[in-house]
């Protein structure tokens, strides 16, 4: 084997592995399959009548299924799996990152102005996460959206670095049960996690690790000296508040589910 050939293969392989999309199954798919196994294959039925959840609105149904899986403590494997398949915050964060790019649902509020983004998040979450615009550092802020990680609502700030998107998930520090060690990368995406200003930051991107290092450095610099501006607007209680506007449709759907779903 000539060296040239090997390097050619490696080079192509590197390009593909760096950029090629690893799609994640939508959470609704596990539910759908579990449902189909039950109805057509006679698999043991699950405790909750999922048909009560409207499926015509995919996004709402997806979110509702996530909620259900969290709200209810029992159920079949298929449906617990829908919430945090293969477990792990890192997997969830990467899946969420990939989904945000694929489903064309990267941002709910498109603005590079931190004074627009921060109040927008504040009005929808029980917290006001730090929002730092790093355009002059080469990390333009594209906007933000609400996301759902580790059984909580989180803020997802979206930055761009060159051609790469970076999802920066933010939630109150100390609120996480998974503050253990995390991988530096999952399925080709690089991950960074740090705490600062009372919040946990979790960055996911296909940008190079050193770019995430830079992002971390700039955000740390911006969040640490001025802690007063960064305090949560209320106690760091992130669990779902169904009265919030963003979740109002879901609240309605959830009420359709019997509070005690298991037939005695």
């Amino acid at each position: 084997m000539a060296n040239g050939e090997l390097s050619f293969e490696q080079a192509v392989s590197t390009i593909i592995r760096r950029h090629g999309e690893r799609y994640s199954a939508p959470s609704s798919l596990a539910l759908r399959i579990g449902d189909a196994l039950e109805t057509t294959m006679g698999m043991q039925p699950r405790a909750v009548p999922f048909r009560l959840v409207p499926s015509r609105r995919p996004l709402a149904a997806l979110a509702a299924s996530l909620l259900l899986a969290v709200v209810l403590s029992s159920g079949t494997t298929w449906y617990i799996a829908a919430a945090g398949r293969q477990g792990g915050l890192a997997e969830q964060a990467v899946a969420s990152h990939a989904r945000s790019l694929l489903a064309d649902h990267l941002i709910d509020v498109a603005s590079s102005d931190q004074h627009t983004v921060k109040p927008w998040l504040g009005s929808r979450l029980d917290l006001s996460p730090p929002v730092v615009d790093l355009t002059d550092k080469g990390f333009p802020l594209l906007g933000a959206r609400l996301d759902y990680l580790d059984q909580r609502q989180v803020a997802a700030l979206v930055y761009k670095r060159g051609l790469h998107f970076i999802n920066l998930f933010v939630w109150p520090e100390g609120d996480s049960a998974t503050a253990v060690s995390m991988p530096a990368s999952v399925r080709g995406y690089n991950l960074r996690r740090w705490n600062g200003g009372g919040f946990t930051f979790y960055a996911v991107s296909d940008a190079e690790p050193r770019q995430l290092d830079k992002l971390e450095k700039w955000i740390r610099a911006a969040t640490q000296p001025q802690t007063s501006a960064l305090e949560p607007s209320s106690t760091p209680k992130l669990y779902l508040d169904l009265s919030k506007r963003a979740l109002a449709p879901l609240a309605f759907e959830l009420h359709l589910i019997p509070p005690s779903p298991v037939k005695e």
Binding site: L29, L37, T76, W78
Partner: protein, 181 residues
């Protein structure tokens, strides 16, 4: 032993592969809703034939079913797409080789963006696309891929090599168009 295999064993084995199965189907079908239908179909088939799974590599067994479901779906709905790929193993590589100039892969590494690379993979015919996805994105062994697509290992390797050459040639073409345009 095989008789004791039940629904929970199927779940335990099949669920962890759902993302990868979906990714394979998504790459083959090129859209989300078809991919979901294919994966659901494949999981139902797999459950139905689970008793016939004689042990060994479950993932390869499952992915072979996903692949069959995908191709069945394509045959029913887009017969022309598959017909284009029949000769893929027989065609000489020299013409494409000639199109690749000095170090094009390094040029690609420098210039190609995420979107372009994914479009390039998507433009490969399904039989080449699937080996790229299984090898590079899902990082399976040649042996596993050979089991999944039911060809000898040598064929897996030659398809991969063909796919790489095509990708580079396609990348060069795209970069040239970008430069000119």
């Amino acid at each position: 032993m095989a008789n004791r295999r039940g629904p929970r064993d199927f779940e335990r084995l099949a669920l962890p592969h759902l993302d990868a199965a979906y990714s394979l189907a998504r790459w083959l079908m090129q859209n989300e809703s078809d991919a979901e239908d294919v994966v659901q179909d494949a999981y139902l088939r797999a459950y139905k034939y689970f008793a016939g799974f004689l042990g060994g590599n479950f993932r390869a067994w499952l992915f072979a079913i996903v692949r069959h479901a995908a191709y069945d779906w394509m045959r029913r709905n887009r017969s022309q797409e598959i017909a284009l790929d029949v000769d893929v193993d027989g065609v000489s590589e020299t013409s494409d080789d000639a199109a690749v100039s000095d170090n094009p892969e390094t040029a690609l590494l420098r210039k190609a963006d995420h979107h372009m690379i994914n479009e390039m993979i998507a433009s490969l015919p399904p039989v080449l696309r699937e080996v790229v996805v299984l090898r590079e994105l899902q990082e399976l062994s040649y042996q596993e891929i050979a089991e999944i697509i039911e060809v000898p290992i040598g064929t897996v390797m030659s398809r991969l090599s063909r796919a790489r050459v095509r990708l580079i040639a396609d990348g060069q073409r795209r970069l040239k168009e970008t430069d000119n345009g």
